[in-house]
Each structure stands twice: as C-alpha cells, then as structure tokens.
C-alpha cells in the first residue's frame, strides 16, 4: 500500500475540519479525491504532506509515518499545489537543481529527466528565466516538471488542471497515465468531476469533512443503484446535492 490513512481527524486549529477519514491508495493507482469547495480535500492533503498535525488517526506512506522517519516519508511524495509556489530568485533550471538535490538525484540524471519534461510542456527555451515572470499556467507547468522529475511513489496533485491550456492538460494526463503504468500512484484532488471520471481508477468522495464514499465508478453506481450515471450524478446523490462549508 502506498498510502494508508486510518481514522484521520484533524484541521487547522483545535476544531476539526475533517473527521474520521480513512483512505488507501495502492501501487499504480490514480485516485480522485473529490468534493466541493470547503469539503476538506486540501485539509486532507495538508495532513498527508505533514503540514498539519492530526488530532487523531494515522497516515502511512509506504509503511512509514512522518514521526517515524520524516525524510523517508517525504522522499516518497511529490506535491503540486493548486497555486504555484516558486522561488522568486531562482531560474527554472535552478528550481530543477534544487528539486534534484532535495530528492537525492544526480545532476546529470535530473537534467536528463527535466529535459524531456521541459519539452513536453514547451518550456525548454525558458530554462534560464525566472519562472515568477511566467503566466499562471506556465508556472503550474514548472511545478509539474519539478514534481515529475522526482519520480516518487506518490504524487499529490491539488486541482491539477487549473490554469493549464488544453495542450498542457493533455500532456499532464499522458504523464499521469505513464507514471501509473510505471507503478507510481497519484492522489488528485479536484472538483471538476467530468475530467476525474475519465482518468481516475477510483474515487474518494469527501463531504463536510467526512469520507462518504470510496470505490470505482462502477462500484459507486452499483451501491447507489444508478446504472450509467455520471460521476456528477453519483456525487449529487451521495452528498444529497448540498454543498459543504467545512472550513
């Protein structure tokens, strides 16, 4: 199991935002963490990343908790935030080198892996520029390049398609599928259900901070007796059509 969350309760302060969340991700799986704004998706992700301390419950990545071995735990993750977070003083190449040093990748290997990714996202001519001067979509591509060159066991992608142009979305989907085929897993948070339906192997539906359903689309349809229903329809049925305001 790449990720195992057991009975996680937590949030930003003493008041919990997510309650008793459990989730497993196996090797080579793309899992869609879906829910409306404020449902608790980002809070769950922040707990997995170790940015928040759980009130109760446990999170294991490749069998390790963050308190047991923080470095090993983090080495198995790569995170792509919803809003690009970049070093204003570093060029694109220097971002790549920083990522490589952080993940213990040799310089030549890193530049070779990055070269391919830069080509995919059409950034190869901008390697010596400051990414902070790029457009939002291009900044997001820089985040993707840095994450994908690390080749960890689990990618955590928060709203992956936000700000990307159609070609960028297409390239990202190809990459995600390629990584899955290579045995790596992806947890993708999104509320764009039509896209999630097409590319995710499984869905974890979170509503008002609680995990209300988990399974393949087929399993969800069967459990709700909604044959041929879209993910949107399944989601509305499960959540009762109400939006969450957990945060």
């Amino acid at each position: 199991m790449v990720l195992k969350i057991e009975h996680l309760t937590g949030g930003y302060s003493k008041t919990p935002v997510i309650h008793d969340v459990s989730l497993d991700i196996k090797k080579g799986e793309i899992v869609g963490l879906i829910g409306l704004n404020g449902a608790g998706k980002s809070t769950t992700i922040k707990h997995i990343l170790g940015l928040l301390r759980p009130h109760s419950g446990e999170i294991r990545v490749a069998g390790t908790t963050i308190s047991e071995d923080a470095e090993n735990y983090r080495k198995r993750l790569a995170y792509i935030p919803e809003t690009p977070v970049l070093y204003e003083e570093l060029t694109l190449k220097e971002h790549i080198l920083m990522t490589a040093m952080a993940y213990g990748i040799e310089e030549e290997d890193a530049l070779e892996r990055a070269g391919e990714l830069l080509g995919i996202f059409r950034l190869d001519s901008k390697i010596n520029m400051f990414p902070t001067h790029f457009s939002k979509g291009m900044k997001q591509k820089v985040m993707l390049v840095c994450a994908f060159l690390a080749r960890p066991d689990l990618y955590i992608i928060d709203e992956p398609f936000l700000g990307l142009d159609p070609l960028g979305i297409d390239s990202l989907i190809d990459l995600m599928v390629r990584e899955r085929d290579a045995g790596r897993s992806i947890l993708m948070s999104t509320h764009i259900l039509a896209t999630a339906e097409k590319y995710c192997d499984r869905f974890a539906i979170i509503d008002s901070g609680r995990m209300v359903a988990d399974g393949t689309l087929e399993e969800l349809r069967i459990s709700l007796d909604m044959a041929a229903a879209s993910l949107d329809e399944v989601y509305l049925k499960i959540t009762g059509g109400t939006s969450a305001d957990a945060r």
Partner: protein, 400 residues
C-alpha cells in the same frame, strides 16, 4: 463612511511605526546615535569657527534643507478601496484632507532637523533677517511641494521628474533668497507656476488606481528603510535577474550536489538577486566608511565600524527568515537543520567579507593602530552567531 475610515487607518499606521520604532531605536542604536550625534555637532561647531562666508556654504545649507522639503503623500488607501469606496468618491474630501495633514506631519521632523543644521551653517555670514526669510521660504516650499506632489499622482506627469524639478527649484530659491531678499518674489512665482501647471493637468476624476499604487510604493519604501535596521515580514520582496553575476554564483558539484548544500546554493542567489539588499549593504558600508573617515577619531571609528557591522548582520538575517517560512522546506525530504547550517556557512563568509572592508578602511584611517582592525572580523563572527541563534529560536517558537 470614508470619514470613519480614516481614524482606524491612521491608528494602524501609527501602531506600525511605533512597533518598528521600538526595534530600530533600541538601546544599542541610541548609544550609537548619541555618540555619533555628539561628535557630529562637536566637529561641526569646530569647523564653523574656521569658516568664512561663502556662496558654497549657502549652497550646502540650501541643499541640506531642500532634501527634506519634499514630503511624500500617504493616502493610507488600500487596494480594496478601489472597489468598495467607488460610490463614496464624492464624499472623500474629509478623508483626503486628514490624510494630507497626517502626511505633512510625517515629514516635519526630518525637515526641522535639516533646518537646524542649516541654521548653524548660516550663522556664518548671515544676519537674523536673512535666516528668518530663508526659514520662511523653506516652510512655504515644504507646504507647496507637498500639494504639488500630491496632485501629480492624479496626472500623467512623472512623479520622479517632478520631484527632481522641485528639488532644483528649492535649492535655487533658497540660495537666491540668501543673496538678496527680493528673490523671494521670484521664488513664489516659481512655486505658483508649478502648482498651476500640475493643477491644469489633473484628471477630472479621482484616479483610484494611481493613489492606491502610490500608497503601496510609499509603504514598501517605509518597510525597506526599516529593513535596514530590523527584520520586516511585510516587505514585498523583489528580485532582479542580474544575469552577469551568474558565473560568480557558487554551485555544488559532484559529491557536494545534494541536500547538505542545496540551501547554501539558494542563499547565494537570494542575496545576489535581491532587489535591494546588496545595494543597502553597499550604502551602509559607504555611509559608515564616510563617518569613520570624516570623524578621524580612533574611538569613534571603532564604535562606528562595530555598529556598521552590527546593522549589516541584522540585514543578512532577513535572507534566512525569507527562506525558513516557505512551503518547500516543509515538503522536501530534507531536514530543516540544513537550512540553519547552510545559513551559518553562507552568512559567516558574507559577514567576513564585509568586516574585511571595515578593517581596511580602519587601517587606512588609523595606520598606527591597524592591528586593532582584527576586532571587526571577530565582532562580525560573534554578532552573526548570536543573531543566527535568535532567528532559529524565533522560527522554532513560530513552528511550535
């Protein structure tokens, strides 16, 4: 509504100034100011006794005062005002008047200090009436300049260009009035013309964006000035590419290419590409170097050098703070202690280079006591060690 808005905004600004004021005017700085101020006045009075009346002396007095006759306008407006206060545009009169009064008050202390220094200089060769006229004209310029600079924001005229024009006009007017009182009339005509010219180019409507942007620039400038003495969290950091420095920036290679050296790699770039920091440090070295050379006193040179290093070490620590709180060091599989270790390595090297400059200046000014210069690197090392620890401690407390 806008009338009720001014009081909390001005209180917020006063709180901000008193908060940073406590850090800037700490006991060390006050001791330094007292010593430096005392030596400055003592040496100035000594120089005045030997000076003869001259137009150059008038020029210096006029330029010193003119530098501080350009009060900036602080509207205290915020970006959201451009949306939420639009319907109240016609009711902004009282708010803007109050903001104007507050802005005038903010610049007055520096103008008065400059006037006192000028007053001392003008005692050489000028009578009471001449000095009174000079001060009266300075007061008129201070007020009119303020209104002109405030109006310029609402025109297409370059603020920097207008500031240069006003400064030149101030220097000329002040020096001319010292030569003959009749020049006062010409000076007033100049001022009136500048005011009419800018008024004629004002946009018919209030340019919210321009005023909000101007306020942001002013606030950022204030933070930058404060950051010369203490850490400022709110500062809007900007970086310059400075491609020409790339070959000089150290990069780990071979076995060093890894997590142990990654933050040092980052710190070199943060420092070299920071929009202001290298220039601030250069300015501080020049400023303290000038004081050391000008005073020429052994003890003053030592105190000035030590204080200069202290201020520069304070400056350097903002690099660490800027990196420690970012997202990536919390997500990357790298122990946070590497940030601290790398900062210590980087900052000791940088501070050593700075102390070497101070040591050289000291050795040139006091060749007979050149051996004392060794205290500068030692002081730099110790202060950097203490400040680094204080920054980690603060970071630990915040992360807990």
């Amino acid at each position: 509504m806008p009338d009720n808005l001014f009081r909390p905004r001005v209180n917020e600004d006063i709180r901000r100034r008193s908060y940073y004021g406590k850090f800037i005017f700490n006991s060390h700085f006050l001791i330094f100011l007292t010593i430096a101020g005392g030596v400055f006045i003592y040496s100035l009075l000594g120089i005045l006794q030997t000076l003869e009346p001259s137009v150059w002396l008038d020029l210096i007095a006029s330029a010193v005062v003119a530098l501080f006759l350009l009060p900036g306008y602080r509207s205290l407006l915020k970006p959201a005002d451009g949306i939420f206060l639009l319907p109240y545009e016609t009711h902004m009169g009282t708010y803007l008047k109050n903001a104007g009064r507050y802005s005038l008050m903010l610049g007055i202390s520096k103008a008065v200090t400059a006037a006192v220094i000028a007053l001392l200089l003008l005692t050489v060769g000028h009578g009471a009436i001449g000095i009174m006229l000079f001060l009266l004209l300075a007061l008129i310029h201070y007020t009119v300049n303020f209104h002109v600079r405030k109006r310029v924001i609402n025109t297409g005229i370059s603020i920097s260009l207008m500031t240069v024009i006003l400064f030149v006009m101030d220097v000329l007017s002040l020096i001319l009035v010292l030569q003959h009182p009749v020049w006062l009339i010409l000076s007033l005509v100049f001022l009136l013309a500048a005011d009419r010219y800018v008024k004629g180019r004002e946009h018919p409507a209030f340019d919210w964006n321009a005023y909000i942007e101007h306020e942001e620039v002013q606030l950022n400038r204030y933070y930058r000035n404060v950051s010369m003495f203490t850490n400022v969290n709110h500062i809007d950091k900007q970086f310059k590419r400075r491609k020409y420095l790339d070959p000089l920036l150290w990069k780990p290679a071979g076995m060093s290419f890894g997590k142990e050296k990654m933050y040092e790699f980052l710190f070199y770039r943060t420092f070299a590409r920071d929009h202001d920091l290298p220039m601030i440090i250069l300015r501080l070295i020049i400023l303290f170097g000038i004081v050391m050379v000008w005073m020429g006193n052994l003890y003053v040179s030592i105190v000035t050098g030590l204080f200069g290093i202290y201020v520069i070490v304070l400056q350097m620590s903002q690099i660490y703070s800027a990196q420690a709180y970012l997202l990536w060091p919390k997500v990357w599989p790298v122990d946070r202690s590497f940030i601290q270790k790398s900062y210590v390595t980087f900052s000791h090297k940088a501070v050593f280079a700075v102390t070497l400059v101070f040591g050289i200046i000291f050795a040139i000014v006091h060749p007979g006591f050149a051996y004392i210069a060794f205290v500068f690197p030692l002081w730099g090392y110790l202060t950097n060690r203490v400040f680094s620890r204080a920054v980690y401690k603060k970071e630990q407390e915040l992360s807990d």
